[in-house]
Each structure stands twice: as C-alpha cells, then as structure tokens.
Amino acid sequence: MSRIAKRFEQLKAQGRTALVPFVTAGDPEPTTTVPLMHAMVTAGADIIELGVPFSDPMADGPVIQRATERALAKGVRLADVLDMVREFRTQDAETPVVLMGYLNPIEIMGYDAFSERARDAGVDGALIVDVPPEEGHDLVATMKAQGLDLVYLLAPTSTQDRIARIGEVASGFVYYVSVKGVTGAANLDAGDVAEHVEAIRRTIALPVGVGFGIKDPETAAKVSKVADAVIVGSAIVSRIEALAERPAEIPATIGDFLSSLRAAIDAA
C-alpha cells in the first residue's frame, strides 16, 4: 500500500480530515524548505505538497507565481527539489510528499529518470497540472511502475465523462479545484463544493481533496465537512512572502497558521 493510501486509511479510522499544505520548494531560500516541512508536520499537516518551480506557471495566481520566481532566482530546479525530499526523509518516513508542477522539467529529465529518482528520494506521488489523462498515458505508466501515485485535478467544468476518465487513471487521491480560476483565486462557495464533491464520489472511490480559495480556519472547517483533504496553498505562500527577508521566522509562523487550521478542522 502506498504511503498516501495508508495515511488516508489511518485518518479514516480516526474520523479526521487530512490537512494538506502546499509550499513552493526553495522559497524564499533553498535552506528554508526542509525545516519548514518538518514544522508543518508538527503543526498537523498530514500530506505535504511541494511545488516544483517552473518559468511559466500558467495555472497559478500572482502569489505562487512570485514564489516560483523567488525559487528560480535562487537556482532551484527539479533535481534540487528531489534532494530536499531526500533530506526530509532522513527524519520523516511517514508523511507522504506529493510534487506539484508542470510537465516540461519532467519531460527534459525523462519520464524514466524522473520516476526512478523521485521514488529513490522518497516522493510518493505527483500532480502535473498541465497533463490531463488524454496526454498522460506514458507518464502514468512509468510512474506507476515505480509505485508513484499520480494525482489528478477535477474542476467545476469537469463533465461526468471526464470524472469517469480521470477515475480510471488517478491514484492516491483526486484534487477538486473548487473555483474556476488560478491558485489563490476568489473565495469558494461551500454549498457548490459539496454538490461537486458528491458527484465525484459517485464515480471515484479515491479520497477527494479540495483546494483553491481556502484562506482561513472558517473556510477550512466548512470544506472539511465534505472533503477527505483540505488543501491550502496561497494563504501559506503569502505568509512566507511576507517573511522573505526573515526566513528564520518562517517555520514557526507557518506552524502557527497550520495549527489554527488543524484546530478548526478537528472541531468541525
């Protein structure tokens, strides 16, 4: 059983919803990331999504675009991100790590090399934003052969046919994008999200995470009632940005924020 599946099974047994923070690897400094990952786990993160910097992040809003630019300016590339995961794994063998990014850096590394190196580093899965199932055949096969999960997005615009198609290839969990828009977009409508998540559950047996537009403990609590995982990205990354000149303070500050989300989710 994959680390991701195991984690969701534990949570289900405990009756808890997963808290999944996203941070861009290497933002604002390459040395920030691993201590930050540990701090997030201590504060209640169940799975960590790690953004792989790419020069043209077309699905991301301004907050994560700027994080990407900060990381790229420090020379952080896919191979460096894998090294960070490897370092994280020396102290944490339990918490699943999912890479989130765009295809081109993986394409250049090669699907085989990427899958092997990711597995060796201790990565559990990847969400490649610009690879729909229609284009993912070879990548899915290669990653699955290495035991890596391929997480797919679902959107408010996904038809029933598309949900079924994604259900056939996705593993680990699926990620419902709660609003039409880019990361960090407008606030989500909890009622609307509940309806879509129900529609997904009718077709897909995997856990359903919900993200985009979750900015505070109140929204996190609402979403946790319908989702198996609450995914928070831009709200964390904007707090990192505010501390870009004082990176030593980042793990504690983000830890406090995650604790507040964790408490709200557990109380919901």
């Binding site: 790419f54 991301d60 295809l103 081109n104 394409e107 934003v129 615009t157």
Partner: protein, 416 residues
C-alpha cells in the same frame, strides 16, 4: 444538401485531404507534437470550442459571412506582386510577394481574428481576450471586437508595452483594455500565460483569441484553417499569372501562422520547396535568438508539445529578435512536425540580414516590409541566386513596416 458544395467548403477550410496530408489527428496531434497540455478546468471548454468550430466550418452561412468580411472589411483577395526590380538586383529566380501587408490593420493577423470573432459571437461569448507581443495581433483583435461590439482585453508584457507605445494607443483608441503583464520575463510568453489565467477564471463569457498556430488543440488547427486563405489565393494567383506553381515558398516563422497559412495548400505539391525562416537574432552561436526549430529541442509549453528555447532543466529561456513578432520561445506544433518529416526546411537569418533586406526592398520596390517579413525576404535573397531565372519564389509579405519605424531608426542611430 449537395455534397459537392459541402466538400468544397471542407477543402476551403483546410480539411478534406483524405488521400494525403491530414493532420492533426482527432485529439490535436501532429505526430508527437501538439496536443492538449492544459489544466483540467480548460479541457471541457476546449472541447466545446472544438465542437463549435467543427459546426461552423461546415456551415455555409458562417462561411459566407466570413467570406464577405474578408472581402469587404479586410480587402481580400490580396494581390501577388512580381518584384521585378528587386529580383534583378538579387539575381536568379523571379521573386513574387503575397501582399498580406495590404490587409486592413496591415498584416495577416486579421484573417484569423475575423474568423475567431465570428465564432465567439456564434458561441454567445460577449468578451474577448488576446495576447500580443508587438501589438499586431492585439490591434487585429481590438479591431474586430470594436466592429462586433464585444468587450476586449489585451494582455501584453510590460517590456513590450514600453517598446510598442503606438500600438498600445491604437488598441486603446479601438476601445480595448490593455493590461501590462509584470510576471516572468514580461514579454509575449508571459502575456500568453496571463491570458490563459484570465480565460480559466472567466470561462463562461469569454473567448480567447490566440494569435498564432500554437496553444492547445484546437487552436493550431483552427488558426491554420483561417490563415490558409493566404495559400489558397496565392496558389490560384501563381497558376493564373505564371501558368505553374512556384518552385519555392518562403515565410518567416515566429509562432508560424503566416507561414502555415501559405504552406498548407501546397503541402501535397511535392515539387514546391518550402522554407520557414526563424529569427536568428545576433546569430545562433550567440544564444541570443528566437529560433527553436533551428536551435531548440522538443518540450511542452502553452498547451502543446513543440520545439522550445529552454535550458538543460526545462526552464523556458528568454529570446531575442529585432522583430517583436518573432520574439517567442516556442513555435506552432505543425511546424515541428513539418521539420521532422522534412516536408519543410527551417533556417534562420540574423537581425542584420533582416534589416538589410528591409532597406533593399524599400529602396528597389517602394514597399516597406515589416521586420518579421524582412526575415523571409532576407532568406529569399540568399535562395534566389542558387536558382535559375525562369524559376520562381513566392514570399509571404506578411505585414507592412509602418510599426517598425522607431526600431529601424534607432538602429540607424536616429530618434524620431
């Protein structure tokens, strides 16, 4: 209905070539290139777009509306012109120019924006967005939006806004909102990213008019089809004028819409040599250029797989060309396929060679070409002397050079 009429429509719009070349496949692939590499939110809207486009391209009413607009609003057909004096000075083959510079708004871009805007109206969209580099596609989009009464937002890199002030003003005169994009390298590729972000956010009422044969399927096919009017006209005009097909076609390639528009109707004419000319900038060996087909490698950007300018880690790198319209790190996926399949040959000319051709055509023919088109002219200048006097080269003069006065003057040390 009469199937012959349907067939002729299909052929007109670029399909109906069962026997020979018939790409892309149903999901937008040209061999290993093209495709739909986009976030999930865009997949269904792209499918809707594809279906709407398929309906329109076999709808006689849509096609006659498009024809009337191309004739009365754009001024088509554009003539071919035998550049006799320039041909004599160059020596060798006879050079003919397809005069897309005479179109309304001054370039081939409008052939596509007219078509997509009519499609947008058919789909009930009230808002148009577009990306632009030099501003030509932005102006062509703002123009058709003004005419159809559609709201128009044009994304343009902050760097380009500063160096193309006149076109920014033209777009604003036409009622468009011009948004200066401040992310990434603040040029055309970032404008495209930002337009994609707008589209994903405002998908319900917004139509994204992509200006070249790139982006996710169906854009490379659809933009090609709208631009093939160039090659269909030119093929008939050359036959009428010279009694035979040209021996060679030459067009500049940035994203590659003017080139594919000219090339496509000739792809099955095996005796016609096809040359695409990329921006060699300061020379391929300097790394300061915009020639992904000549010096890049395959990758995935902006919704399709194609040749890209990228570093060893798959990050997209900055490009350079004196011509803003060619200053793009990718290229249409069909060109990638035509390169690999060797049906077309791709080469590059430098900024200096393009400038020399710009001056040469202006002085010998009284035609001021766009700097983009000057790349094609510079290549024809190299090619013609290798051919006989009774052979012919057809060059796509894709745009006029009025917009480039400041660039050329400053290169010559003048301030206008």
């Amino acid at each position: 209905m009469a199937t012959s009429a349907d067939n002729s429509h299909a052929e007109r719009m670029g399909s109906g070539r069962e026997a020979a070349y018939s790409l892309p496949d149903a999901v937008g692939h040209f061999g290993p290139y093209g495709g739909m590499f986009v976030p999930e939110t865009l997949m269904h809207p792209l499918d809707e777009l594809k279906q709407a486009y398929e309906r329109c391209k076999s709808d006689p009413e849509f096609l006659s509306e498009l024809d009337a607009d191309l004739r009365d609003y754009v001024g088509r057909p554009s003539p071919i012109y035998h550049a006799e004096r320039w041909s004599r000075e160059v020596g060798g083959a006879q050079i003919f120019l397809k005069r897309e510079d005479l179109n309304h708004t001054g370039a081939h871009k409008v052939n596509n924006t007219i078509g997509q805007a009519l499609l947008a109206r058919r789909m009930g969209k009230t808002r148009i967005i577009a990306e632009t580099g030099a501003g030509q596609h932005g102006v062509a989009s703002a123009t058709v939006a003004a005419r159809l009464g559609l709201e128009c937002v044009v994304y343009m890199g902050e760097v380009d806004v500063a160096r193309q002030e006149a076109n920014v003003y033209r777009m604003r005169l036409l009622g468009a909102e011009v948004v200066a994009v401040k992310s990434g390298s603040r040029t055309l590729k970032d404008a495209l990213n930002e337009a994609m972000r707008d589209w994903v956010t405002n998908i319900d009422n917004t139509f994204y008019i992509i200006g070249t044969v790139a982006g996710p399927h169906p854009y490379p096919m659809m933009v090609r089809d709208f631009q093939t009017v160039i090659g269909r006209e030119a093929r008939a005009q050359m036959l009428e004028r010279t009694g035979r097909l040209p021996d060679a076609l030459v067009a500049c390639v940035g994203g590659g819409s003017n080139a594919i528009g000219l090339f496509y109707p000739f792809l099955d004419d095996a005796d016609v040599a096809i040359y695409g000319v990329e921006a060699g900038g300061e020379g391929l060996q300097t790394g300061h250029h915009a020639a992904p087909l000549c010096a890049g490698k395959p990758g995935v950007l902006h919704g399709n797989r194609t040749y890209l300018m990228e570093d060893a880690n798959g990050q997209i790198i900055e490009t350079h060309s004196i011509s803003a319209g060619l200053d793009y790190p990718g290229v249409g996926p069909e060109h990638a396929w035509l390169k690999d399949s060797k049906r077309a040959r791709y080469d590059s000319v430098t900024d200096d060679e393009a400038l020399a051709a710009f001056h040469h055509l202006t002085r010998t023919e009284g035609i001021i070409p766009a700097l983009e088109s000057s790349h094609a002219l510079a290549y024809a200048h190299k090619l013609a002397p290798t051919m006989r006097k009774d052979q012919s080269i057809l060059v796509n003069l894709s745009g006029r050079g009025d917009k480039d006065m400041h660039t050329v003057a400053s290169h010559d040390g003048l301030v206008l």
